[in-house]
Amino acid sequence: MGDINLKMLLESKSLERAPFPIPTGWFFIGFSDSLAAGEMRNVHVLGQEWVLFRTESGKPGMSDPYCPHLGAHMGHGGKVCGEHLRCPFHHWEYDTAGWCKSIPYAKLTPPIIKKQAVLRTLPMVERYGMMWAWFHPACEAPSFELPYIPEMEDATGYAGTRRGSWTANTCIQEIAENGVDTAHLKFLHGAPIIPPVEASYDGPVMTLDIGRGYIVGKSYGPGLNVLRFTQHGVTATMISYTVPLTHDTTQMNMSFRHVDYAEGTPELQASKKIIDHMIGAAEGEESAGFESVDFIVWNNKKFRPNPLLCDGDGPILQFRKWFQQFYTDPGYVKV
């Protein structure tokens, strides 16, 4: 706060591209139908490797790979045994909450395993046909819940199978900041005007209204956004579920849904056009979706903790202040 620091503006070598740790929140891990009961695989997300598995009864689990006993990687040679993940080395078994449930040869049970989980696992839920994991750097329990999304959870009324996945070479905060950076919508995306934006914040939820009802949506922590785009009375929905792969590499995943209009209706056509427009170029539209223009900026920019802002810029600093809550150590925040 205070005067502009000219030295900081002139010098960029000390700036970093993604000077943040992995944030806290619920993150998409995979589609539920991609992991069968009894199956196990290694996944690289949230800055490290994890063993993702599904128990015989269907419960998903995600654990640190290295056995608390003697450090074997359970994702190489381990297996799902009933409700447990079994280490290949000495057949110690763990449940999805990280409790050691069996040591097949010990006459005595180490007291600690009766009192607490000894293997780091992430709390998981399945929503929207997807597996979600709660990441907290200090292993704290979830502090909010995933929302009900009618477009994904109502059995009837909505349609749309389109989805996509993109990797950006930056962190979630930098990607999400574009939501409040309204001026870039005109100059980078080519929108006819700088749309007005209203952002409000309530705990882990940010509500955005861009262009007075054109794009209205909510962010639920760093890992889930639900944005509804409305044109001429037709609404289509972008469900965006973003997961950090490393602290500076991010996988953006999206599903696109719309009202289940009958085949051949103008409303169905309009819905599909809105979705085209969210992603890239759409026929008859001047502006471009994120795929065609945002990545070149995200993949090459640096984070300016003290940016030179002008009138007409969106509520960027307020957004950064909101995002701070997802970093456990407030020292990481450089606003």
Binding site: A106, K107, L108, T109, P110, P111, I112, K114
Partner: protein
């Protein structure tokens, strides 16, 4: 120099020079008394069970939760006595020089 007076599983008595700074377990393990100390003092294996002589008991630190739990479990395998302790939970200090203990049966 501190010492331990150790009654072995065969009833023989030995005097051991004790290393201060470690646990009683360290001295017993390194002197091949039959004490294994497998877990290194984490209170997770129960292989350093000893019977401390009654006259020494009030000079020992109190049992923690893990030691209590472990001794309960040990009691299902071998006899417990009032002096049952895990030697890894007894810091070897000059004040314990002369401590008399008996090596408990193997698990």
């Amino acid at each position: 120099m501190s010492e331990l007076r150790v009654i072995g599983r065969d009833g023989s008595e030995r005097r051991l020079e004790a290393f201060e700074g470690g646990a009683v377990m360290d001295t017993l393990r390194d002197a091949a008394t039959g004490i294994l100390g497998t877990c290194g003092g984490a209170c997770s294996c129960g292989t350093c069970h000893v019977y401390v002589a009654p006259e020494w008991l009030d000079r020992l630190p109190a049992k923690g939760e893990d030691e209590t739990m472990m001794l309960e479990a040990i009691g299902e395998l071998v006899p417990l006595r009032a002096g049952s302790r895990l030697a890894c939970q007894l810091p070897m200090t000059a004040a314990l020089s002369g401590l008399v203990l008996e090596i408990a049966p193997e698990l």
